[in-house]
């Protein structure tokens, strides 16, 4: 389904009746309500993050920011805090390397599974799909990952989530819809399987790969679970672990390092600091998502319709 189709208007030439008018009103209310409910929390967070500390403490900020000379205090404290940049850097490292590894190995796995002539195709498909039905569970997985020495290793953010079976199945479906004679012709001319994957299969499923890349990148960026299980060392931890400490466990580490430990400063900046952290964490996601909208629509259809 393309963006163009959404523009299509099936009911443009009917005479208006009262009930149709009523429908229009209901539709407007529903959609406006949905958009407002979605946007308001973000707007509020940004407003608090950049408002006057006193106004925030008195509970005067509800929608728009109340600017003052101290608006940027919390922003300054957060951005001067070294640990934030360490975890930000770690997150970008895990996201970039992890996504590359995810996409490469998803293609490497999906291509043989999509080749109809491959004599191991059916057993290997079963081998892969079975893991979607049944898993060893958290504890045995934890034992294996720590047992092979991945505890407090950066690889723990990449290897245990090297491929997602669901995404690989999507990739396999896309590759198996590539006309098989293309491969047959190429192999008659002496092309190797690696060459065919790289120069025939991958270019023809680019839209699918774009969606999978997005899914993988978001998953790597947001990965908290593996970090919590396998990374005890704060210097290795990604942004999500840092955010959990500040937002949920109410750690006051940023205030402390800023040195303004006075009660007044603490009251004025505690909430602002947390909301600045949310803003900083959400910026990359908010920058990317609107641009990949058209791929998203295609991607969801892939997951649900093909199989």
């Amino acid at each position: 389904m393309s963006v163009k189709a959404i523009k299509a208007k099936p009911h443009s030439f009917r005479s208006e009746s009262a009930s149709d008018k009523a429908l229009d009103i209901v539709v407007w209310i529903l959609v406006l309500f949905a958009a407002a409910v979605t946007l308001y929390p973000f707007l509020y967070v940004v407003s608090v993050a950049f408002s006057d500390g006193g106004a925030v403490a008195r509970g005067e900020v509800f929608l728009l920011p109340h600017f003052s000379s101290s608006s940027l205090d919390a922003f300054g404290m957060v951005t001067k805090y070294k640990q934030l940049w360490t975890s930000y850097g770690n997150t970008f490292l895990y996201t970039i390397l992890g996504t590359i590894a995810n996409v490469v190995f998803t293609c490497l796995g999906a291509y043989p599974l999509s080749k109809r002539s491959f004599f191991l195709r059916r057993p290997l498909n079963f081998f892969v799909v079975f893991t979607m039905y049944f898993s060893g569970g958290l504890i045995p997985t934890y034992m294996v990952v720590t047992g092979i020495g991945l505890y407090n290793s950066r690889l723990a953010m990449i290897l245990p989530v090297l491929v997602s079976t669901y995404n690989m199945m999507i990739c396999r479906s896309a590759m198996s819809s590539v006309p098989q004679d293309l491969f047959e012709n190429a192999s008659l001319e002496g092309a190797s399987e690696f060459y065919m994957m790289l120069h025939i299969a991958v270019p023809l499923i680019k839209p699918t790969l774009a969606v999978l890349t997005l899914y993988y990148a978001v998953a790597r960026y947001n990965d908290f679970f593996n970090a919590m299980l396998y990374l005890g060392d704060t210097s290795l931890q990604p942004l999500q672990m840092f955010l959990r400490r500040v937002l949920i466990l109410s750690s006051s580490e940023i205030l402390q390092q800023a040195g303004t430990a006075g009660a007044a400063a603490a009251a004025q900046n505690t909430l602002k600091i947390r909301y600045v952290c949310i803003v900083l964490a959400a910026i990359p996601i908010f920058c990317i998502t609107p641009f990949v909208q058209k791929y998203l629509v295609a991607g969801t259809m892939l997951g649900a319709v093909k199989g």
Binding site: I6, P10, H11, S17, S19, D20, L23, D24, V27, W28, L30, A34, A35, T38, F42, Y44, G59, F105, L108, G109, P112, F118, L120, R121, L124, F127, V128, T131, M132, Y133, G136, L138, I139, P140, Y142, V144, L162, V163, E193, F194, M197, N222, L243, R244, L247, I248, T270, L271, R274, I278, I285, T289, P290, Q293, L296, V297, T300, M301, A304, G307
Partner: protein, 320 residues
Amino acid sequence: MRNASQTIVHSAEPGRKKTLGQLISRDRHLMLMFLPVFLFYIVFCYLPMVGIVMGFENFRMGSGFSGLFNSEWVGLKWFKQFFDSVFAWRLIRNTFLLSFYSLIFGFPIPIIFAIAITQMRARRFAKVAQVITYLPYFISTVVVVGMMTNFLSPSNGIVNQLIVKMGGKPISFMSNPAWFRRLYVISGSWQSFGFNSIIFVAAIMGIDPSLYEAMEVDGASRWQQIVHLILPMISETIILLLIMTLGNLLNVGFEKVYLMYSPAVYETGDVISTYVYRQGIENHNYGYASAVGLFYSAVGFVFVMASNYLSRRVTGSSLW
């Protein structure tokens, strides 16, 4: 699995049948290509399945992975201990209810929203609204729970500030067992309704415009079009997604519950996966935690199989 029947036709090469050695030599590049993924599945998916035997053993951490084979065998002791404990019923109930309420309240909203979006005449605004409602889906669970925790904070959260302004008393939402499920369901719905509506929007847009025209000629209002045309046309999508959701019914997001809950709300918030985490990783009762985890995996297996069977019966296509 439309390709299954074609496979046989394709793999039967004209002429004689190849021996295994010939097949291996012909497909060696494909096998080499698959090797890393194969190793991944062996190490991170199948090896843990072997580790399930821990659930029947008195396993100790110091013994490492080889401890699997020389730990004391205790049979069903851990399972008995779990089902005799006061936790079993509470955990199963909490796990089930969290999923069930998420389904009941979360499932219809994307459908209603999709219908509203497609009925909007201001197409440009409809598109903007759609993009806006996707956004929360990509925000991490940590941030969503973090926002919720701070908005609902009894001391400086905006919700309680409003309650106090209106003359009420602050409520400790996050540490009140009565609120846990509501907050879990509402925040989950908030995060995913826009994204989940995509597929319904696509299904509605796929309806042949001439069907609308035919209904208009018959004098049907747009309300009647929704009830008698749109809903029947997307019913297959609805049923398919419902079945898929049922398959994952007990797959409660560990991460979100873990980030949201505290001992104060265990009564309604503690689910099987968080209990396994606490018993295994925090308290080092590996055998016991593996046994509970195995029970959980087994129930999940039954649900997925059932949903796949249903899907095949109802729509003629299974998930994989």
